[in-house]
Amino acid sequence: MFDDLDPKDFEETAREVMEACAATDDLAARASTLAEAGLLGVIAPEAVGGLGLPARFAVPILEAAGAGLLAFPLIEAMLLSEALAHAHPEMASALVSGETIATIAWLGTEADGIVAGAPRGEGAEHLLVFRADGSAVLTETAGLSAQLSDQLDTDFASATLRLAGPLTGLELSPDAVATLKDNAQILRAAFIAGSTASCLKQACDLAQDRVQFGRLLSSYQALRHRLARDLLALETMRMGVTRALSNPGEAAPMARRAAWLGAARMGPACAESAIQVFGGMGFTWEVPLHRHLRQMRTLAIQGQAAASVSALAETLISGSSNQWYEEVPDVV
């Protein structure tokens, strides 16, 4: 299946597209550029103008987006075009073609009256808002007041929006929302892997260029080991993503969760590490490492990674499925 295509084929195109997107301030122009290259619809069904490819084909695109600090709700476009494809093909088509831009308010529900963590919430025309019953509604953003959710965020411009009463729009069922949230984990992990790869490359390049105390920085073992650990983290993330996508058996939910939570933990740490390698320069606005750090932290917040670790902790200690210990009495 898809034998004539390799996810790697998208790498070069994706990199060029991300560069083009970084060169413009116009969100709509970015949408067009992404759509023209087929990147918005890579996993959307062909019926709505997508390529209908398996999720692994989205990985190099998301990695390129992470590396390129893409200021566009790409993950949301991918998720929504897939989620809406059957029930609302017109909207899915509009998203795939870049005609309209939608985002998702990852934090809060309609009932709170305020939702947050919506990438480019100030520029998107549509906003998916979750409801307390597990469903969601895709509303128009016109008339909603938006502000930046988090001072640690810049490129993503994750927005907080005040809602004005009950929302109307296209509806997603609780099942569709659960699938969307589940799939979001892998897309975010791939995005973080790209961001991490960029940080690591920048740090390696600098270390092989800069001389301190008469020697190349990259000749110092402490620094070599730091970069080696960051490479290990990056490869671990990538293997986690690959495994989560190729392993849909009973291990799959945990594989997805681990890929996501691992990336959310390791990615920001690699950005911190790259900042340390850069020294004082790493602490400047001009060097984009802090933007990667912010981008990855923002993704972690949108995906509620820290809360998810706590939830996993609860599940973990609530019992074991290992048959070999069934004879041990369970008294709690």
Binding site: P54, A55, R56, E82, T179, D182, N183, I186, C204, A207, Q208, V211, R215, L216, S218, S219, Q221, R224, H225, L227, A228, R229, L231, L232, T236, M239, G240, T242, R243, A244, L245, S246, N247, P248, G249, A251, M254, A255, A258, A259, L261, G262, R265, V309, S310, L312, A313, E314, L316, I317, G319, S320, S321, N322, W324, Y325, V328, D330, V331, V332
Partner: protein
């Protein structure tokens, strides 16, 4: 977002059933209160595992194997890992000597050595490390001189696991001078009952006497016991270590998961220990994530090997990731069991003894098969290709 499900794992199901029927209490590592298995019992169990299809899975049938793929090997090892099974007595034979012999041995050597590894007739040990040449193999000094009678070996090996209970030693020796470093190293399959071989056990910090020093005094080794050409020793040894780092004990991540399961299950047997466990829940969740990511390393590696790719330096990645994650877990587990009440019941005592043993054993995991520092050096130099000078 989904692809078609893979084979549900019939081979794994078979392995699980067999283990349920054959892994008896005295063999189980979660039952310290039972009389531990003797060496003969462990060897018998391991031979039975082979007959049942749980060992030698990928080896050709002509040499006693089952002629299957690494995929079945992985499936079986998942089950072996999830079970509280003992470590293999003959892992050096199966995971190091066997692959080397299949790679560089003659047809006669393959027929001679390989089946006996699986039947447990020949347990192997590994004669690589030396005093003063631990991780730095190229500094080894054991000499092999060619004479009219064959080769004569002199020298000393150390950290030779299980040497005193082995029948064969996979020996790395030098044909030239020390300054040759990795040139002029030769590999032998040496019968351990050859005159001139003396072994001395080294007590480890766990209190076991599993490691040995092995002394070679004018040990005559027949030309027929040489594996590969005299100058192929280094490349073969490097390949061994690469395999060892990458695919050795493929069950490791599932065993790791099983240890965590055991700790949690035991703590749930007493409200007081469950309250303690809760204080470490987030730490253990991080460990659980690492276990899952470790499976990603292993499964990626299996896919790469199945696709015929060379492993090379990337074998350092799973070794490094596993050893540090496992050490971290062992430290947490040891801290938890140290808090068990004085009147703890048998399930807690079993878990306590196991976790304490794991804690001590884990100290070696960042040392053997190349220290953490060496793995990091390898990654920096051979994967990141970081320059040392402009």
């Amino acid at each position: 977002m989904t692809t078609a499900p893979k084979d549900p794992g019939a081979y794994g199901a078979m392995a699980r059933t067999w283990l349920q029927q054959n892994l008896t209490g005295n063999l189980r590592t979660d039952r310290v209160h039972e009389t531990p298995a003797t060496l003969d019992e462990l060897k018998a169990f391991e031979a039975a595992m082979h007959r049942a299809g749980l060992a030698g899975i990928t080896w050709p049938k002509a040499y006693g194997g089952h002629g299957l793929t690494l995929r079945e090997h992985l499936e079986a090892n998942r089950e072996i890992g999830l079970a509280p099974a003992p470590n293999a007595v003959n892992s050096i034979g199966k995971e190091l000597a066997g692959p080397i012999i299949q790679a560089v041995g003659t047809e006669e050597q393959k027929l001679e050595y390989l089946p006996k590894i699986l039947t447990m007739e020949n347990v192997w040990c590994q004669g690589f490390s030396e005093p003063g040449a631990g991780s730095d193999l190229a500094a080894l000094r054991t000499r092999a001189d060619r004479t009219s009678d064959g080769w004569v070996v002199n020298g000393q090996k150390i950290w030779t696991s299980g040497a005193s209970k082995s029948q064969r030693c996979l020996l790395l020796a030098r044909t030239g001078v020390k300054e040759d470093r990795h040139k002029g190293l030769v590999l032998f399959a040496v019968p351990m009952d050859t005159p001139g071989i003396d072994t001395r056990e080294i007590r480890s910090i766990e209190g076991h006497r599993h490691f040995c020093e092995v002394f070679f005094n004018d040990v005559v080794v027949d030309e027929a016991n040489m594996l590969g050409a005299p100058d192929e020793g280094w490349s073969a040894a490097t390949r061994v270590l690469s395999i060892e780092r990458a695919s050795n004990r493929m069950y490791r991540s599932w065993r790791f998961e099983s240890e965590l399961d055991h700790l949690i299950t035991a703590c749930r047997s007493d409200a007081r220990t469950y309250a303690i466990l809760q204080g470490y829940a987030r730490d253990l969740a991080e460990v659980r994530i690492e276990i899952e990511l470790l499976k990603g390393h292993v499964e990626t590696l299996v896919e790469a090997l199945l696709a015929g790719e060379e492993i090379g330096p990337s074998g350092s990645l799973p070794k490094l990731y596993w050893s540090e994650a496992h050490q971290k877990f062992a430290r947490i587990a040891a801290e938890i069991v140290a808090r068990f009440p004085t009147d703890a019941g048998q399930p807690l005592l079993d878990a306590k003894a196991r976790m304490e043993a794991i804690y001590l054993a884990s100290r070696a995991e960042t040392i053997y098969a190349g220290t953490t520092e060496i793995q990091l050096d390898i990654i920096a130099k051979r994967i990141l290709n970081l320059k040392k000078a402009a």
